[in-house]
């Protein structure tokens, strides 16, 4: 696979949003970040705030382009990736 850079829109909800301190950011991870799981690891290494948000990795869920997604989902340039805790609506 071509190692293209990927400008992504990353969204955070609920306590992930509170910990990161922003609800949305545009980021271009390095080419070796191919999946949602790899993106989470990379984000966690950015700074203390991101580290805090992704500390409890097994309670973090995600969506890619407004669809629930697995950690193994491969990302494409321009994707909207959202991270959030398990949903509690209804």
């Amino acid at each position: 696979m071509a190692a293209v850079t990927k400008p992504l829109t990353v969204l955070y909800f609920a306590w992930l949003r509170e910990r990161v301190g922003v609800s949305e950011e545009t980021l271009t991870p390095p080419p070796e970040v191919r999946t949602v799981a790899e993106l989470a690891v990379w984000l966690a290494g950015l700074d203390e705030r991101h580290a805090a948000a992704f500390k409890d990795r097994k309670t973090v869920r995600c969506a890619v382009n407004q669809e629930f997604a697995d950690p193994s989902t491969v990302l494409s340039p321009g994707d909207e990736v959202a991270f959030f805790p398990p949903v509690t609506g209804g």
Binding site: R17, A63, Q66, E67, E80, A82, V87, T88, G89, G90
Partner: protein, 154 residues
């Protein structure tokens, strides 16, 4: 055919049911569920009643996610009408949070699809509840294993 709304304002249960059934003679049963803010003890502070609940959601995704859940209900049951209204924002104890109503030729389809929709809304739609405590502190409600179990029955 389904009516799906995500809104900050309240809804009128009687009016929504009236719309579902108006002018029809093919409906045999109508099922309905209303979720209401309960003045409960906070999850992590059992001595303090919650003051309010705030519902956060993922605006670009919410209506689509609810639409998928409704489509699944329509695949499973013969529905003649379906309304889902989910509020977002800040709500006080006693206020409505969510309405699910379905109309069907027979009662079992109406009852089952209503239960299915609320179970799936709780586990497959991007909403997050935050409890507001008396001192202004807040706590995000944690997902409950029993909600996943309820949704997994279907």
């Amino acid at each position: 055919m389904a009516k799906i709304l995500v809104q900050t304002g309240d809804f009128d249960v009687g009016a929504e049911i009236a719309v579902l059934t108006a002018g029809r003679t093919d409906i045999g049963g109508l099922g309905c569920f209303v979720g209401i803010v309960r003045e409960d003890k906070a999850h992590d502070a059992p001595d303090r009643p919650i003051q309010a609940l705030t519902l956060e959601h993922y605006p670009a995704m919410t209506a689509r996610a609810i639409g998928r859940i409704v489509e699944e209900a329509e695949r499973r049951w013969s529905l003649l009408g379906c309304t889902v209204i989910h509020r977002v924002g800040r709500m006080l104890p006693g206020e409505n949070i969510v309405l699910v109503a379905t109309a069907a030729p027979h009662r079992q389809a109406a009852l089952d699809s209503t239960a299915f929709l609320i179970d799936w809304l709780k586990t497959k739609a991007p909403f997050w509840k935050r409890e507001e405590l008396p001192d202004g502190a807040g706590a995000w409600v944690e997902a409950r294993a029993e909600d996943d179990a309820a949704a997994a029955r279907w």
